[in-house]
């Protein structure tokens, strides 16, 4: 099992399925639960109902109520109980129904789960996964649209992951379950059902901490993760039609993040556009920008640029204005290219 964790493994079977992102998440859990008795899954309405987005559909039917169970509305104790289970040898996957509801569990994540290994002098750890849909685009208002990844990225001891494709969702979630440290697994809910792709049925993991180069290019690097990626790819394609060659890097994993892939790319292109939908101030991309300027100051042809959400609570009626769409990315790209 540990061997699998360290590299993107060859797929053992040739069968592939055409799945969307949430189906891939469902499959990842199903496979991990089949492979490892210690994996248990719980949260609000994850059992018979299969979760509000149906990520856990059918899992209680297959694995029974002992391994897949509903909890009351008690996020602090959902996370806290996951800590206790993980410390005592289980591999809990706790679903927090929306990332916005992590608030009541914040202490248990940040002050408890994150610190178990360190504060016990490495005696024990809390290998839990918190799966939670995050981000905007579903017209849910300010309590159903937040992108809180930076809070967790700021907390040493946690790993923070956000896939943008079905293939990655499955591989990253499997890696998260097998990780010996707590993982916050954000799911970009606005692209849960946006598109399907071929996902192998067999066992593979996508190693945490490795970015994916989605498009190769020479003139500009776009770095993003999660829900903004489909738009970032559109932008790359639009610019390609205008003769601009854009490299697109999908971080996939926010902590740890793949400095090497990002730096190699920006060293080549000299221009970096960092894209995310979380509010701009103290956005994780600030860390990426800092690293780029520190390592590649001389190679930069333009200042590192960011397109992000606004520094406002997420608006109810202005989803489209708030989310950085292709137009905002294109304008920022034009500015970088014309610098």
């Amino acid at each position: 099992m540990t061997a699998l964790q360290d590299k993107e493994t060859a797929v053992s079977t040739s069968a592939t399925l055409s799945l969307n992102l949430i189906q891939a998440i469902n499959l990842a859990m199903r496979e991990e639960m089949r492979l490892d008795e210690r994996v248990v899954l719980f949260g609000e309405d994850v059992g018979a109902r299969g979760g509000v987005f149906l990520a856990t559909e059918g899992l209680q039917a297959e694995f029974g109520r002992r391994r897949v169970f509903d909890t009351p509305l008690s996020e602090a104790s959902i996370v806290g109980a996951a800590v206790g289970m993980a410390v005592r040898g289980l591999r809990p996957i706790a679903e927090i129904q929306f990332a916005d509801y992590m608030g009541p569990g914040f202490d248990q994540i940040v002050s408890q789960a994150a610190k178990i290994r360190y504060r016990s002098g490495g005696q024990f750890t809390a290998p839990l996964v918190i799966r939670t849909p995050s981000g905007g685009g579903v017209r849910g208002g300010h309590h159903h649209s937040q992108s809180p990844e930076a809070y967790y990225a700021h907390t040493p001891g946690l790993k923070v992951v956000m896939p943008s494709t079905p293939y990655d969702a499955k591989g990253l979630l499997k890696a998260a379950v097998r990780s010996d440290d707590p993982v916050i697994f954000f799911e970009p809910k606005r692209i849960y059902r946006a598109f399907k792709e071929d996902v192998p049925e067999g066992d593979y993991v996508v190693e945490l901490g490795r970015a994916a180069v989605r498009r190769e290019g020479a003139d500009l690097t776009i770095v993003g993760y999660g829900g903004v990626m489909p738009d970032a790819l559109k932008v790359a394609d639009a610019l390609k039609a205008e003769g601009v060659s854009v490299e697109v890097v999908d971080l996939r994993s926010i902590v740890p993040w793949d400095r090497e892939t990002v730096l190699n790319s920006v060293a080549k292109t000299g221009r970096a556009l960092l894209v995310s939908e979380a509010p701009r101030t103290a956005n994780f991309m600030g860390e990426v920008a800092y690293t780029i300027q520190e390592e590649l100051f001389d190679a930069l042809l333009a200042p590192v640029s960011q397109v992000a959400g606004f520094d406002t609570p997420y608006p109810y009626a202005q989803d489209k204005v708030y989310l950085p769409g292709p137009n905002r990315m294109l304008r920022a790209a034009a500015k970088l290219l014309g610098y």
Partner: protein, 342 residues
Amino acid sequence: MSRVTSPLDLLRVMVRIRAFEEAVGELFVRGGTAGTMLHLSIGEEGAAAGFGLAMRPGDTFTTHHRGHGVFLARGGDPRRMMAEIAGKAAGSCRGRGGSMHIADVTLGHLGANAIVGGGIPHVVGAALAARHLGSGNVSVAFFGDGAMQQGVLYESMNLAALWRLPVVFACVNNQYGMGTRIDRAAASLDFDARARAFGLRGVTVDASDATAVFETATQVLADAREGRPALVTLDCFRFYGHARKDRSPYRTEEEEREGRSRDPVARLADRLRGEDVLDDDTLTAMRDDARREMDDAVAFALAAPPPDLAALHEDVYAPDRPAPPSVDAYHALVYPEGEARA
């Protein structure tokens, strides 16, 4: 009943609440709301009207995400609520929050909340403020049975009892938190005992009986005003799915039929008819008035202009503060070419 509130008043408010919920439900289905989540309080009108009418001007309250009824019972303007839900600038929160975030400080409404339990501790603070300012007002937290399992409720109950605050915790127990029936969320359903364990008064009332709710609420509010806080459980049934358009595959038709037989509107109307206080024409007129009022609210909401784009950045901080850095950086980037208008 008090001098000022008659059973007909209770009935009228309940009829208006139901008409609002039906109208906003239709608006939602037709795509006229800005949001994708809408929770109706049909079946819970007795709780909202009975409790809401027993409160006094100046009393403050918070609600959960199913709070349209309480707001109307406290004098909320259906037009402004409808406009809020439609995401229009004429909404009570400028279209910022929608159904789950209604607030109107002029009516003491400190906010509905889409975080279950989120608004509960605010009433502790509002009650401390009331005492500090000597206003004589009570603060009431309305929340669902689901929130009975949130830790923050118990911290708040303890504080209210410890500091003898003018607070009432009002649990609208519609038997379900989404797909989870209350008996699958709590081993003990004796909520009154939970209250007593914290040194609060605990009362459960059948909320299909609006007058019973009104009488209980009048009593506990008077006690709370004297520094004896309470937890009141308003026992009712969520008639339809968790949200508009949701089905409820987790409960049987028989259970639904039985639950819907506890209809607070029909119950009071039948009683008043039996007592010859109400005749069919009056009831029909009451319903027609309510429907017209809510149709008008829908028309108002649909005709209202959407929020100005620049308003997106307002109200994050006090107006005399500089805009957040991202606003400076992006304002120029976003607006001139009018991406959002396209």
